[in-house]
Symmetry: C2
Subunit: 156 residues, 2 copies
């Protein structure tokens, strides 16, 4: 897959899957709404601070994030670290009108947080083969990029 | 979610996501075609013995299997163990005409194997709440059931 094909898969996905180790030491996965991307290597997810995957990632930040399209048999798995942001800058960027139904106290609700996934490596899968990206390759591809809502961008 | 609602989510899914620890000790996930189920607790997946998720599960059989529907906001995650079957009984059950394109030597191709996921517990998520199932509860619900192609059954 080319950089553009990977970026297109990521941008057209509304949801992705995170893989992590939970507080009982089990493998666990969770489906998350994920449309804010900074190239291939960084992704933001708004979520409840109290949710079990956030609590598990506070304990063990090793994580993977998987974007896939069952209809085209494409997938990309990013391996790295989860960072939990509580600062207003991130929380404001991802806030949508109506989010009060999830976070009654608004942007500063302490149960509202932003999960950032930072990739150290990636592996992609497609009918025509698979391949790997190193941390250095991801950083080179993503150089100079900013966070943007990729889904909004391509559905314009 | 009721047993029927969980079983319906599992049966109507063509694909599921497995979560595991790979040979580099990373969290990893993989999308798999998964239509053979024995109730809620046991699932069969035909795959390549040489694939990285099978090799990783031989090393560390702790696994989770996640069925979800993004359009209805339903998900069920099963936690347990992976068993790799090489015996003809399983390989014949899941064999489809035309599978020679994946496994040129046919049913007995040593690169063809059946991955069984056996759940010790489950957690389900829906807009109206979440809940857990213990191993004992899963065994009671699944008592007397046999493996069947759930997708073929409901799409008749």
């Amino acid at each position: 897959m080319t950089e553009n094909e990977m970026m297109n898969l990521i941008n057209r996905s509304l949801f992705a899957t995170i893989g992590y180790t939970d507080e009982q030491g089990r493998q666990n996965v969770r489906r998350v709404f994920c449309v804010w991307h900074k190239g291939i290597g960084r992704h933001l997810i708004s979520t409840n601070t109290s949710s079990s995957h956030v609590q598990s990632l506070m304990n063990n930040p090793n994580v993977c994030l998987y974007f896939s399209d069952d209809s085209t048999f494409e997938g990309i798995c990013l391996y790295g670290t989860a960072v939990i942001h509580q600062d207003r800058e991130y929380k404001q960027l991802l806030w949508n009108e109506g989010d009060e139904k999830y976070y009654p106290k608004g942007i500063d609700d302490e149960d509202y947080c932003i999960l950032e996934i930072i990739a150290d490596g990636a592996r992609y899968y497609r009918f025509d083969g698979k391949g790997e990206l190193s941390k250095t390759q991801i950083e080179a591809l993503d150089s100079g990029k900013e966070f943007e809502n990729g889904y909004a961008k391509i559905s314009k």
